[in-house]
Amino acid sequence: MGVDLAVTLGSVRLNNPVMLASGCCGYGMDMEPHLDLNRLGGVCLKGLSMAGSEGNKPPRIWETQGGMLNAIGLQNIGVSRFLAEKAPKLRTYGTAFVANFYGHTVDQYMEAARALGEEPALAALEMNISCPNIQEGGIQFGTDPASVYKVTKACRGATKKPLWVKLSPNAADVAATAKAAQDAGADALTCINTMPAMAIDVERREFRISNKVGGLSGPALKPIAVRIVYQVAKAVTIPVVGIGGVATAADALEFILAGAKAVQVGTALFVDPQCPYAILRGIEDYCARHGFPSVESLVGQVKDGAPMPKCHE
């Protein structure tokens, strides 16, 4: 008997738990030459804002040990161009598209949620409250539970679409921001966005990327992300999506065992755009091998004895 790969996140049903991460797959069809989107559980599109953004000055990326820094600056074509030029093509696919969006003020978030909420091609909206790259917005919303509550509540009122909130690892208490998002009406939580980080070229005494600070992603981020998924899944009742350094089935399984219902693959796509196929196959094999009839039955199944002690050093 086959393993049931489908997972449900609130009212959103995914054919399988493997999604593509925002900012790592363009507007979906950019992956087309390399990957069949219909074989994926879902696809999170590049972060959109009402006004669009030209992004940061290059250089925008730098590789670090087992990871990379990026300060793309959320370059995007804006919500209206997205709806006119990209969304109609997305309607023809059989996968769940999720529009990632952001603003610099609560009103801008609301406007984007309202406009994107009308688009039938989208299964859900994912609020980016955690992008560390834009000075005026992003980080302030994501690190403070009161701001998370306010911006989530505002967007909740602006759209009927399922609303996912993507959390920042940079909050002092991620579980508190997770609860704030849940209390404000979020349907699911995505954990995590990149970690603000820095690299310096010592010979030239220059920053490696023009924005000085960039977001760390890739394998180096994974243990932080797994810990946060575990803590957040314990703190809330809404579904959690795990993200950060997923490159193999074993990586994805760590997130699922920690409590994630689905995973997103980002940086690993740069190494191999087809890695989602192997990840999915590996999850299926694992379920079969360990006698789990479905991916859903595996969620949060890490052997969890005593509660996590407070001091971990």
């Binding site: 390399h34 290059p58 590789e63 040990q65 990379m68 990026n70 740069f270």
Partner: protein, 258 residues
């Protein structure tokens, strides 16, 4: 297309340079296109490295690259031995536009350092189509002149300049380019250090089309990360375009040097 596995067939080293030939399934490609190449060394370094195609033979299933050691990734590629495995994604990017059929004025290929390999691939195509060209190569010293014999074997030996005068004329490659421009050219194709490309674009502006192959740090190589952008002038507006997708070859008059 997805990444494909390849096996190293040879790796010929000379100083800090090596010519890496790999075997496997090879899609036909055009001069100026590139591959994202990586050895099977685990998660560090993580990202594949962009390398221009030096030569390809889809029928025989071979691909070759010429690279210079500049950091971690290129050092590991330099150390590869026959039999080692690599993976590569490609061909990627927009190639050099081929000049119209023979009969027009000659074109000039201007290269320096690791900008030379894609131009050697172009020279091979031009020679096959009997389109006349001049190959101008600039280097710091004679040890940095690349693929000189290969170019000569195509019937058009390169005109070389070195900064220290150790081979060819002493000076920069822009000197012979100025002469060639005065004699009349149909187009200029260039790849090399940014200073050289900027000078070439300036010399060609308003006279002949220049097709420049630019470099940028790359994440994905296939258009999704927006990590590789350069400022370009499009219809009077300044926009960021992707070196991996709209490039690596850009019209010299559109490139904004900031």
């Amino acid at each position: 297309m997805g990444v494909r596995p390849y096996t190293v067939l040879h790796n010929e080293r000379r100083g800090p340079y090596c010519t890496l030939t790999v075997g496997g399934e090879v899609e036909p490609s055009e001069p100026g296109q590139f591959y994202m190449v990586r050895g099977d060394w685990g998660a560090d370094p993580l990202l594949p490295r962009p390398l221009s195609i030096l030569g390809e033979d889809p029928a025989a299933g071979t691909l070759s690259f010429l690279l210079k050691v500049v950091g971690r990734g290129s050092s590991l590629l330099f150390e590869l031995e026959p039999g080692h495995k690599v993976t590569a994604l490609g061909p990627l990017g927009r190639p050099f536009p081929m000049p119209p059929a023979p009969g027009g004025p000659p074109v000039a290929l201007v290269g320096g350092g690791v900008g030379v390999p894609p131009l050697v691939f172009l020279a091979r195509r031009l020679a096959a189509e009997r389109i006349p060209y001049a190959f101008l190569q600039g280097a710091r010293t004679k040890d940095d002149l690349l693929l000189v014999e290969d170019l000569a074997a195509l019937g058009t030996p390169p005109l070389c300049t070195t900064e220290d005068g150790s081979a060819g004329a002493k000076g920069l490659v822009t000197a012979p380019l100025a002469v060639a421009l005065d004699a009349g050219l149909g187009a200029v194709y260039a790849c090399g250090p940014e200073g050289m490309l900027k000078a070439v674009a300036g010399m060609c502006a308003g006279r002949v089309p220049s097709h420049l192959s630019l470099e940028a740090r790359m994440g994905c190589g296939y258009g999704v990360c927006l990590g590789c952008v350069v400022p370009i002038s499009r219809g009077g507006a300044r926009v960021y375009e992707r070196v991996c997708q709209e490039g690596p070859v850009f019209d010299g008059e559109a490139v904004l040097w900031e």
